[in-house]
């Protein structure tokens, strides 16, 4: 898709978005990449740090209330990034907002999610929302790969509209081990701390 190449090309030219594989390799296993979230370019930066064959089967998760809010944004999200849109606002209280993600994982696709749910102003991630926990529960064989996106909070902080070209790196950590019987908040805190560990 030409739009994907345009997005990836411009992010690479401005920000580098070079991958650092620290503890995991760009292998074929099905994965959920979870990362800190500070800017609108996070998705493209993480996506373009993946090798093309992995990128083809990895889908970013994006908020429908933002990326679906105009025809252009929706076009970029769906056609440019092959994103899965989720209903963060829960318009239908009975529907499970994670249902589209389960669908994608059942099809063997990998996902990119930002468990904080919204962009932060600072370099370290805030508390994680429970989505990651439910995904991990439903799909125990999918690898959970922590990712730290470095410098993007400086390049395009919340409230600004054009990125300043600073070199950004995408650090991939070792798969998060599963601990049997671990409760939700302990799991989420552990996942968050692994991302923080990659920031150092």
């Amino acid at each position: 898709m030409w739009l994907s190449y345009l997005l990836i090309g411009s992010v690479r030219a401005l920000l580098g978005a070079t991958p650092r594989w620290l503890g995991s390799d760009p292998g074929p296993a099905q994965r959920i990449y979870f990362a800190n979230h500070t800017s609108h370019i996070d998705t493209i930066a993480l996506w373009s740090a993946l090798p093309p064959d992995l990128r083809a089967k990895t889908r970013p998760v994006a908020a429908a209330d933002y990326w679906g809010s105009s025809a252009l944004k929706r076009y970029i999200a769906v056609n440019g990034l092959n994103a899965v849109l989720i209903d963060r606002k829960r318009a239908d209280p009975d529907a499970d907002p994670l249902a589209p993600l389960y669908g994608a994982l059942e099809h063997g696709q990998s996902l990119i999610i930002f468990p904080e749910g919204t962009r932060q102003a600072q370099r370290l991630p805030g508390p994680f929302k429970s989505g990651l926990y439910h995904l991990a529960e439903h799909f125990p064989d999918v690898e959970l790969i922590p990712v730290y996106l470095d410098n993007l909070h400086r390049s395009l902080p919340k409230g600004t509209f054009f990125p300043v070209p600073l070199i950004c790196t995408v650090r991939f950590g070792a798969p998060l081990p599963r601990i049997a019987g671990e409760d939700k908040s302990a799991f989420l805190e552990r996942a968050r701390n692994v991302v923080i560990g990659l920031a150092q």
Binding site: T18, N151, R154, K158, G159, V164, I167
Partner: protein, 313 residues
Amino acid sequence: MNPTQKLAWLIGGVALLLVVASLIGRILRSRVKDASAAAVVDNLNARVRAWWSMVAIFAAAFLLGRNATIAMFALISFFALREFLTLAPTKAGDHRAMSLAFFVIIPVQYVLIATSWYGLFSIFIPVYGFLLLPSLSALAHDTENFLERSAKIQWGVMIAIYCISYLPALLLLDIPGYAGQNPLLMFYLILVVQMSDVLQYVFGKLFGKTKIAPVVSPSKTVEGFVGGGLSATLIGAAMWWITPFTPLQSAGMALIIVLMGFMGGLVLSAVKRSLGAKDWGAMIKGHGGVMDRMDSVSFAAPIFFHATRYFFT
């Protein structure tokens, strides 16, 4: 021989030098036994390979003409500033000032050179940039570390844009009896400053014992500096025929370039270390970042420009 032909021959000479360096690298690689020596030779070979690409890029820009050369230096400034500001911590409130630096100051500075507007070229950043950049940061209402943050941006802009832009600015000098040959002067400056770096590295590796500034730059030695600096000065003197200088004047100019280049390496190494890094980046294999290659040039170029302008125009 017209200046372009001269330049082509000079670039051919540099290519020959690189052929020799590549051969020496191969021979050394086949002879070394222990691991630490092999690492040094591998780094040397990586540096030589990177030199091939850098010389190819410079040669292409030089031979394509004036505007291509200016555009290439604008890109170098872009990459250098990106490395500088990546390492220098700034805050969200500096976003507008940084955008101004990248997307306005770089193009304007190089357009001023392309349009030969010397008066504004020489004061645009020290006057207008100096006053406008902190004004934009102040408008973001964040006073935490304001002076430090502004100073970092000013420093990056001065080194990566202003100082580096003095290289293509050599094209603006109107030297009597030297019309149309200014690209040769640019070649001369780059040759002397880079030969000085390379020879200081070689002399340091071969004879280096006494460290000059172990805390700031552990690889700099008195033996390397004296041996490399003197050889580079002699090379500069021997290249007088491509400059408007006599052989003696050319030796003096080369000495200025060598001394300023040395200071540049030292100062930027200190800046780098105060920011907690060993290399400015990873863009040029074996060398580090663009700033690691441009540090000495950025100090030598403005002084060489003004010395030439004062004494020869």
